[in-house]
Symmetry: C2
């Protein structure tokens, strides 16, 4: 055989399954020493990705964590990376980051780039496309290389691995209940992240909160920021809206900005609550009341879980950690004692 062999080639020669060959090369306890030796000799003979093999034989670690996130321009993910970096560095691990740009194909490409010897494990938040198509075939490479994965924020029940997230449904329910508590009676849910698991769960939480309260549900889904002002103001004109739950930070800020522009008073006329505790909402005037998803903490916990997994310091059962969110009250919602 001339060039490099693949796992498939080796499996064919050995008359074994790809999975068995992979496990043998990765020194899995499921495989007998006899089979391991056979596989390794054939792998060496057939020039199977020699560096990778050498690595696995020495069980050499790169002490590097790969991170794949959808977008670096979203504050939440930038903050999560910050948390991942801090914790990884404190354990002596390095971090390399790839972006999926919300695309399944780019996510797949990033997985293949990273698991191919560069990193010991992956921390990921799924792309919009992956979540909406529910297609996880591109995780095959990571599974083949036995690369541990920790999912955070945007996770999936179809992938069996460690997961760190918040309860988005509960968080949105609490945000909506906060508006109910301060006296809002016409509350709309506004989202620009339709199609993601978190966007969908937040919508559900909003619906759960207003169920049986007599408040009618109105969901505004804005796909293009160019139409934000027009769609929002049209909605404000139709009902006497006094409360808005916005599914992310920028849409909450845009809501306030355009409402003020059209002479609505925030929070006197409309109380606005958003998601993500970032610089944008913190520094805005009026400052934004937000659901804090503890982005940095999510990143930090994801890194800690992955490192413990790599160092076999946690049980084999997947870790499923659900962080409690909190509401940070600021100027964009009426204070509780103001309740109408």
């Amino acid at each position: 055989m001339g060039g490099k062999s693949t796992l498939k080639d080796l499996a064919k020669i050995l008359n074994l399954s790809v999975s068995t060959v992979s496990k043998a090369i990765n020194n899995s306890p499921e495989i007998s020493d006899v089979t391991k030796d056979k596989v390794r000799s054939i792998a060496l003979l057939n020039n199977y990705s020699p560096n990778k093999l050498a690595q696995s034989l020495k069980s050499q670690r790169t002490k590097t964590i790969g991170v794949i996130i959808p977008d670096v321009l979203m504050t939440f993910f930038a903050m999560a990376i910050h948390g991942i970096e801090q914790t990884a560095n404190s354990y002596g691990y390095k971090v390399i980051i790839c972006l999926s740009n919300e695309s399944l194909e780019k996510e797949a490409e990033s997985i293949n780039t990273l698991v191919n010897g560069s990193v010991d494990g992956l921390i990921m938040s799924l792309s919009k496309e992956t979540q909406s198509t529910n297609d996880y075939a591109h995780f095959e490479e990571a599974i083949r290389y036995n690369t541990p994965i920790v999912l955070f924020d945007r996770t999936s029940d179809l992938l069996i691995c460690d997961k760190i997230k918040i309860d988005d449904t509960l968080a949105a329910k609490e945000a909506t209940e906060h508006l109910l508590k301060i006296g809002c009676r016409n509350i709309i849910f506004l989202t620009t992240i339709y199609g993601t698991s978190v966007g969908e769960k937040r919508r559900l939480g909003y619906l759960q909160a207003i169920e049986n309260t007599g408040v009618e549900d109105t969901i505004i889904n804005i796909k293009d920021y160019a139409q934000f002002e027009c769609i929002l103001i049209e909605a404000l004109k139709q009902g006497k809206i006094d409360g808005i739950v916005a599914a992310d930070e920028l849409s909450a800020i845009s809501t306030i900005k355009y409402s003020i522009k059209h002479s609505y008073k925030i929070p006197e006329d409309i109380s606005v609550i958003g998601f993500t505790n970032g610089v944008l909402g913190e520094n805005f005037v009026p400052s934004l009341t937000v659901v804090d998803q503890h982005a940095t903490m999510q990143g930090s916990l994801a890194a800690e879980t992955l490192i413990k997994r790599l160092e076999k310091k946690i049980p084999v059962e997947p870790v499923h950690k659900v962080l409690k969110t909190s509401i940070i009250e600021r100027e964009s919602t009426l204070p509780l004692f103001y309740a109408k």
Copy 2:
């Protein structure tokens, strides 16, 4: 020899310089074929990083670009990454990102992680510590592997490579002249990025603009955001400040926020201009007048330059591109026709 050999080991055996050995392995046209063959045989015999050697022999490319930036929470860098991604992908290249967190040591670590076979070339913006110590010894690995580097934004004259940047001195001069033009006579320069090349150059530009205008120079250097409000308001009380040039986006927004809090009117009392055309300044009320450094364009040009360098489509002389900045007038400065 037991383990893997280093270039140094090979050089010793061959009685050649490390640089010659490196060039031979990397197939440099400066080295004769005879020497190349000799070096390669010795390298193979002595188990010199076999994968690397195999790669160079086949001149195999990873088609991956490594990016090292100081901080992902700064909008400018997040936008630059966006530009790098777009352009790299359009050329069929992947991107992996490492952060230096403004530390020389982490920058060094990132270089070593990436040049070690993962990437074909590097795009970097230097860390604060690297720039203030002017120590570039940690670029040795990249040079040894003949890894092309493109610096952007925070560059250095001491590194001979492709560079994409703006003229920070001119940009700050123009920003200050803009304030002079609208009638400001007590202009301060406010910075939180002291110690970086860009921070220093912007300070110089401010000084150049007010030279011979009779305006006194006042430079406020804030190291800790916790003291921002206190230091700013103290300065505003002392002189009749009517213009502020802030060296970055967040400090400009903070300036406006605290000025308004202390009953100063923006722009009627004080005109504020900042750097970076990001979501924060665009969405703030009043919206921020900024110097647009064309972050996305800088990233995009850096990627294009690196790819052309890798594919030998540009002359060997280093590319030095200086982008023209522009001022985006918004609500935080008096309009020109208001000029007092």
